[in-house]
Each structure stands twice: as C-alpha cells, then as structure tokens.
Symmetry: C2
C-alpha cells in the first residue's frame, strides 16, 4: 500500500513538467505510528524497522521514532496530530522536499485605505454560490438559498449580502468580461427555429424600450421555438422574459467530450429547484411581468446535480457548452446574451432582495433555528444577526452609491435600528459589563461576543457613514465609534498568545474557550489590517502584526 | 565531540545500577539542525548524512530531517525549540528510550479540604532559603534577606512569609527530627575546654529559668572556651545567647573527606553577612539581651560561599560535620542543641518579624524598586503587595493558632486594611471595569491583574476568616467573598486554550500577552484545585482540570 503510493508519486512527478505538490496521507500514517506504551514495536500492520526508537509521549503512549547519535527524530504523522500543523512533500525539478506550514490560511495586506465605494474587504476572493451550503440561486430573486441550518433551504440575509458583496468586489477587480449578444432585437438577431404550429414575431416593447420576440407554442409534441447558441467558456446567460402561465425557457448544455446533455428549465412556478435525470427546473415566479433573468448556468447545473447526489464535477466550465435556448408556452423575450460574468446583476439582485425583504424594524430576520453552543438556548426562527444587518448595510450603501436610488440609502439607515436593541428584545445588542456595546452576530443569552461578525458590522456602519457623506453627527458614525471603542478595549481578550478566540463564550458561559480555526483567525487579521488603516490606535496594527506572526508559529512570550 | 558525549553516556549507564536519566544537550543540536533555506546540507560543522531530507519551515528556513517512504522524521532539536517542549533519553535496565514532556511541572492533587491550621497549599515542597535570590538568613531576625530586585539585599515580606509558611508546612509533613542535646545545663552537659586566662562557670538564669554557662575570654591569642561537638548529618544548631559587645560564638565545620575547615562566626554586630577565606560572619545584633539563635549551618556556609563566588557544592550535608562550638568575649549561653530541623523556630522567626515590622497602615512595605513591565512606571521603594499582605496574614493566622498569642491575630487583622486601599493611594486594590475587586501583587498603574498573587491573597483572607472562628460578618470573610466573585468571573480570561496567562497586561497595557511559564501555570492549577475544595462553583474544578490537561499537550477545541 505504501509502496503503491510511492510509485504513484514517482509516476506523477515524472509526468509533470513544473512543480508538483503531492499531499501525503498523513492521517493513516499517524494511526500507525501511535501505539500504547509497552506494546511491542513489531506489529504486523507496521512496516518494522530496526531503526525504530521508542518515544514515550507524556508518559501516555509511545511513538516509533528514529535516532542518530544525540538526535532523536519524530515522525511528522505524530507531530501533525499533536500540534495540528500541516505539511506536504513538494517536488521541484525532481528534487523533493518537505514543506511545513503552521497554518493553512493567507493574509491579504491592504494596498490602500479601505473605501466603502471599493471592494468589500477581501471578498473578491469569495465565491458564495459554489459553497455546498448554498442550495441554489433562487430563480425568482437571483439570490442564494442556504441550507446551513435548515436542509429545506432558507434565505439567509448574511449569505445573500455576502453574495452581493463578493460580486460587487469581483466587478472591480476582475477584467471586463466577454459579452456575446445572442439576440438584442436590433443589430444582433438570432436565427430562431419555429415549428409549424408555433408562432414567432418581433415587436417593440414600450416598457423595455427595445425590440423583443413574441412566441407561442402549442401542447403538441415537437411544438417549439428555439435557437442554437453554441458557446463555450462563458456561461452566464441573461435575458428579459415575460411569460404566461405554464411557459418556460430552457437552456441545453452539452458535454463536449461525453455527448452528455443537460436541460436547465426556467419555469413559471414558485418551486425553488427540482431535478430529475438530466432535467433541472428552477421556478422563476408566476407573476405576469417582465423580469430579467441572469443565470450562471454551470452553477445551476451543479446545484441540480447536488440534489441528485451526484458528485461535484471538476472544471465543468471547460467541458460543457451552451448548445441552445428554447422557449415554450407563450410570452415575450429579449436582450438575450451570454457573458463571462454579470457581477453587477448579481449584486443588484442581492440589494433588491434586501430592500424588498426588510421588515418594519429595519431587520432581516433569519427564518432558521440556530443552535449556537451546547449550553445556550437556540436562536429561534426570526432571530436577527448584527452581521446580517452590517453586511446588508454594506450592500445597500454600495447600491446607493452605484445607482443613486434613495430607496437603498433609506433601507440602509433603517437597518441601524436593531443594533441598538438588546438581544432579549429581538435586537442584536449586547453589553460587556454594562459598559461596552457589542453587535452580536448571534444574539444569544448570555451573549457570545463573536469577533469577526462584530467587525463586519462595524464595516457596515463605516460604509454607511462614508456613503452618507462625512456627517459626523450621523447615527452610523456614532454606532461605529462606540463599537470601535469596544473593539479596541476588548480585542486583547481575544488573544490566545498563539492564535485568537472566535468568541468569548469561555467568559460568558464558563466553558472551554472556542479557539478560532486558522481561516477565521486569518479573517480577524485581515479585518484588523483594514481597520488599522482607518484608526491610528496602535492596538489595531500591533495586534494584526502579532496575530499574523502566530500563523507562522510565533508565540507570545512567557515569563 | 558528539562521540565523546555518547561514550560518557555509555560509561555513566554502565556505572549505574538502577535507572539513569541522561539529559541530552539539545540546544547545540538545535543550532546545527537549523539552517537558512537553500544552504547546502553538507556543512563541515554538521555530521553529514545521506539520509538528510530537507524540510522547509513556513517558507522561512530549512531543517535537516529524515525520510522513510511516506513518513518524514523531524529532529527533536527543532521541535523542542519550535514548540518549547521537553525531552530526554532515559535508560532503564540498559534499554534506552526517549521521554517527551509537554511541561516540566507537577500538579499536587489535594487529598483533603484545605485547612488554615494545616499546610499552606504545597509549600512543604518549598525550600526558600536555598534559592539563589536569598542572600542569607539574617542573624538578627532569623528570616531570609532577598536580592531579587536589589543586590545589596532587603527584607521582602513575601519571601519572609513564604519562608515561614514552608517551615510551618514541613513541620507538619516531615517526620519528627532527631534532636541531640549538647548542653542543657541539666542532664546533658558538654565538656568545655577552658584556656588558662579564660573563665567558665555554670549558673541559674532567672529569665530563662534554666542553668546556663557564663564565660569570659581575654584578648590574648589562645584564650578560649570551647566544646567538641562532632556531629554529622544534622546541622541545625540552636542555643540561647546573651553576649556583651565584641563577643561571638563560632561553629567550626569540617569536611570529612578533604580536611577543609569552615568557621561560622556569629558576632555582636549589625552587619548582615561577611565572608573572607574560610571565615563567614553573621551579625546577631548589638543589644545586650538574651536571644535564641537557630541556624542551619549548611545554609549559612553556602551563603557565605556564594558571597565569595564559590560554586554551590552538591550535598554538603553528607560531607561535613559540626566539629566544635567556641565562645569568645564574655556572656552567657545555654540550651545548646543540634537538630535535623527546627521548622517551628524558623516559622516563628517569620511571624515575629511580621509583627515587629508591620507599619501603622497594617502593611509591610517593600523597600526595593520593582520594574514590573516595560511600559509601566516602576513601583517605588515602599510599595505594598497584596501577596505580602495575604502571605503575612497566613503566617500570622497560623502563629496565633499555634501560640494563642493575641498579638498575631491583631497583626493579621490590621493587615487587611491595605487590601481596601487603591494602588494609587499606596494600597493594593485594583478594580476590573469598576466592578470586580482585585488584590494586586504588584499595584502598578495601570493594574496588571496577576493571577497567582491574587489567589494567594485570597488564601490569606480565608485563613484569617477560619482562624478567627466562623464569623460570617468578619472583614476577612467579606474580602474573601468579593475576591472569589472576581476570580470566578475573570478566571476564563486567563485561559489561553493551551495554558494560562500570568497576568492581564495585554488587556490593561495593550501589549503582547504574558503567558505563564509552566511552573506558574502549575501554581494556578494547584491553587484552583485547592479553591475547588472550598467553593462548589464548577468553574473552579472545571478550569483546574482543563488547565491540568494543557500540561499534557491537550488544547481547547477550535471551531
């Protein structure tokens, strides 16, 4: 088994022209290397070596080590588990070496001061919709549906806002996408195939102020209106649709290698998603109105497959092409195009969702029950999150900035209210020792003081304050200043001396501390570097630097 | 060099009948094993091995490892430094193995509930006077003199109290010592040698209510009064002395192997200690009054040698004997004896010092400047320590319990006052967020919230409360309860997830956290186990257990 792996590695290394990284399967080695004290080192499962030298770990168990004179060598399979560090053998130009990593996360040093009109922190690196906990992108709203705490799926405002912020940020950092007009009713006209019993006409639409196609098919088999698209590489299809009941638009995708065909049906229904065999259905609503549909077809296909429990495919964007678009039932369509991306359309879908779904108190209640910590009562459906409020504000402030539409600004301002309402009263505010305000990502009782969600809320406040114009009397500014005082005061308590705490549940619940895993720790560090650009208090930059050092194995000194 | 060490080890192993532990000199190996990335692995200083396999640590530097198939082996010299763990090769019955230790400290699980009449925590394991930072035991007061922050030496109340508490505890845990009466003026009479011009008589002393010897020598060379003692193994000599000016008592110690002679002179002077060649002088004061001298002669000898910069000798108690006692000048002496220990005499020396030196505010000011942390103003001579006050109270409560003398109880009660005086007003009280009281071991501004010193103060309060009788209205009880509330509230903030913080300077100063080294961490754990026996709040026992686990490499979970 081990030999086989080695041969595979050699074979792979030989195949590869450049550098090749090969992960070793340490976990299995770890199990083998660890045995109870006193058990014979010879073991039928273990490749016995005369070089084995017994190491007794804290008087508890033994590990097979090596020895050379004064030096004792410990197996990485043991070290990896004992200290939770990372390592792999890499090969460059045929020379192999072992690469030890203290953490697996990356810090993005901001190149310039954070600007609420620009990217949101490092969200240009986020890809919300590919996450497993995103069930699909809603056909009606164009925003993600979460399964994080509720397998049936629910609208999670934090996730929707992150989807919006990621696309806003990508729009600023990615190169302009290629756009291919399929049919704009004007200069670019597709060649539509119309079956005998179907009808197809072009006409001017007053509300769109553009030429559109009007179509109708019958219930007869073979009654259809369709056009060939045959586009590879780009997969974001958009069009305007006005459909009568029981009508649909279908996109046919083909696997270039395997002659596999997938049908994505966008149908007039309220059903979120449905999949059967090669057919995947998205409801786009039943109201008879123009709607612009913008769909990442690969995402739509993958989410359908996930429903069918099919494994995720690797790089489907290289293997598929958009073969054709089909219109069924009756209605009108226009502005059909395929792009590499449509980030702003996704961003504004999120912003519109936030405006439409905001409740009277300014909140976006989370409709799923959330189990936060063992000894704390669950958050019951309808709870609010300061992170949702903050992220929502960040989306809305940017939407106002880009569109100038006052509704976005009004919604952003309304979202502030719950930040001043205690958790017990349905809001998100907690107080540290009656003195320092904390905007709670999860407003449990007792509060948890989650760090990253609090800082994201602060960024929402900052965003709104700046987008409103430099009005030092604004509520957002006051809430930001109050929160920054709390942060700068309590930040040290999140320092473990070798990492950071995710929250302060050890203080509020008296339980074991909840250490932030490296990706959350990296989030903390990225957030602190960002804030250090806004506030000169040395606690921010010093903590960011120290915490970054922890990711390379540095530790605070002991006395 | 390496080979030489190995041969020495083999030789030692051969010499030894039982198990033999051999520490390897890892630090040097560590320096060799660590090199910059890209430097050739062959290096004239390094024993080159064809088995070397390059490990790149966090992309920063390289370490020479070993590899066997899928497994990579890392040198302990690297691991030791990187993670600060401990290891040694041990040999049992000729079989060597490597013993890995996560920490170097030990936890004492209390067998029964803490009782202020009993041992003080685990202090029966302390030996204050052998510490390098103890200059000597004062001949006048019988208490240690510290050089910790002031090389000339000063009376450090915390150290004096610890000296008392260690001896009180040893008195309870050690077997009854052997006592050999040299001359009690009654049944046991020494045979004194008196030179021609000297005088020697026996008489009854009214104040001592015992027979004593009266002696006088002249200035002539050879004028002397002395008796042979010739005792091995036991070295605590005590006697009553009443000396006129320029008189002295000298004890002659002899090295049985080397015919080396050491003269310990106890002279009527105010000088603390003086050493020249084989002569070591301790001033015992100039007042003409009876005083009982109780001296650990080996400690007195070693402290003299330390002044002469002679290296500490190993096990001098096996190599020396008390050869003789000499009286010079004129005065009276009685009750001469040699014991294995005189713990209660040392304990009461500390208790008497505390009563005598207590100031009007109830404090024992520390006469040395104390530099606590880089960014904090020094504590200026005359500062008070809550730990001194607490330890002092623990000594005085026990002295009252053992003696019934009210002066001890009064002094203990007076010592409470400063615990309610803020640091800025010369006291030791700090407040956490204006809400939780903390008795500061080092009352800096801003406060540091040192954990172990605070808990020791709590123990002093508990001791006094119990010794006073179960008076729930007592000030000590109230102060204890207030402090316990603070402790149980703030204890989680001292949890690093893999150890504990020594103090909260990262919070109050905004600097890097000050992690407790393992012996302080073990002190925390021992203290918490003790308190868990007094208070059923689960935070105490749960924290103690979790923190004990950290010493075996366990960690709090990450999310």
């Amino acid at each position: 088994m081990m030999l086989l792996r080695l041969n595979m590695r050699v074979a792979l290394a030989a195949l590869c022209a450049g550098a090749l990284l090969i992960m070793l399967y340490w976990s299995r080695c770890g199990d083998l290397a660890r045995r109870p004290i006193g058990s014979a080192l010879s073991n039928s499962l273990v490749e016995r070596s005369n070089d084995d030298f017994e190491c007794v770990i804290n008087g508890e168990y033994s590990v097979a080590c090596r020895r050379d004179h004064d030096e004792v060598y410990l197996p990485f399979s043991f070290i990896r588990k004992y200290f939770e560090v990372y390592g792999k053998i890499s090969s460059t130009d045929g020379v192999e070496k072992f690469e030890w990593s203290h953490s697996y996360s990356k810090i993005y040093h901001p190149k310039k001061k954070y600007d609420p009109r620009g990217t949101f922190t490092t969200f240009e690196n986020y890809n919300v919709e590919v996450r497993d906990r995103v069930k699909c992108i809603s056909g009606i709203d164009g925003v993600p549906v979460s399964t994080q705490w509720e397998p049936r799926g629910f609208f999670y405002p934090t996730q929707i806002a992150q989807f919006g912020l990621a696309h806003y940020s990508k729009n600023l950092t990615e190169p302009e996408p290629r756009v291919r007009i399929i049919d704009d009713g004007d200069k670019n006209l597709a060649s539509w195939t119309v079956s005998k019993d179907a009808t197809f006409t072009r006409e001017y639409d007053n509300s769109l102020k553009a030429n559109v196609v009007r179509f109708a098919t019958t219930d007869q088999v073979g009654s259809q209106v369709w056009c060939k698209v045959n586009i590879s590489q780009d997969f974001v299809l958009s069009l305007d649709l006005l459909l009568k009941p029981n009508s649909s638009m279908t996109v046919v995708l083909q696997n270039k290698d395997k002659k596999e065909t997938v049908y994505l049906h966008y149908v007039t229904s309220m059903q979120l998603i449905h999949a059967q065999d090669e057919h995947i259905y998205y409801g786009i609503g039943v109201e008879y109105k123009w709607r612009r549909l913008t769909r990442d077809l690969i995402i739509d296909m993958q989410k359908g497959w996930a429903l069918l429990d099919r494994p995720k495919r690797k790089s489907p964007r290289n293997k598929f092409r958009i073969w054709s678009v089909h219109l069924s039932g009756s209605g009108r369509a226009g502005g059909l195009r395929v792009s590499g991306s449509e980030h702003m359309a996704h961003f504004f879908a999120a912003a519109r969702w936030l405006v439409a779904q905001q409740r009277a108190r300014g909140g976006w209640p989370v409709p799923a029950r959330r189990r936060v910590a063992p000894s704390v009562p669950d958050l019951r459906p309808g709870w609010h999150s300061a992170m949702s409020q903050g992220h929502g504000i960040s989306v809305l402030a940017r939407a106002y900035h880009r569109s100038g539409e006052a509704a976005y600004l009004r919604a952003a301002r309304r979202a502030l209210a719950l930040l001043d309402v205690p958790g017990a009263a349905g809001g998100v505010k907690a107080m540290w020792m009656d003195r320092y305000v904390w905007y709670e990502e999860y407003p449990t009782k007792p509060p948890l003081f989650v760090l990253n969600g609090f800082i994201y809320t602060l960024l929402g406040l900052y965003d709104l304050h700046v987008i409103e114009g430099d009005n030092s009397a604004s509520l957002a500014k006051k809430m930001f200043d109050d929160g920054m005082l709390s942060l700068k005061t309590l930040l040290p308590i999140f320092d473990t001396g070798s990492g950071s705490f995710y929250d302060l549940r050890h203080f509020t619940l008296g339980v074991s501390p909840n250490i932030a895993r490296w990706d959350y720790h990296a989030t903390h560090v990225n957030q602190l570097y960002l804030l250090a650009g806004l506030d000169p208090d040395p606690i921010l930059i010093n903590t960011a630097k120290r915490w970054e050092g922890y990711m390379q194995g540095k530790r605070a000194a002991h006395n």
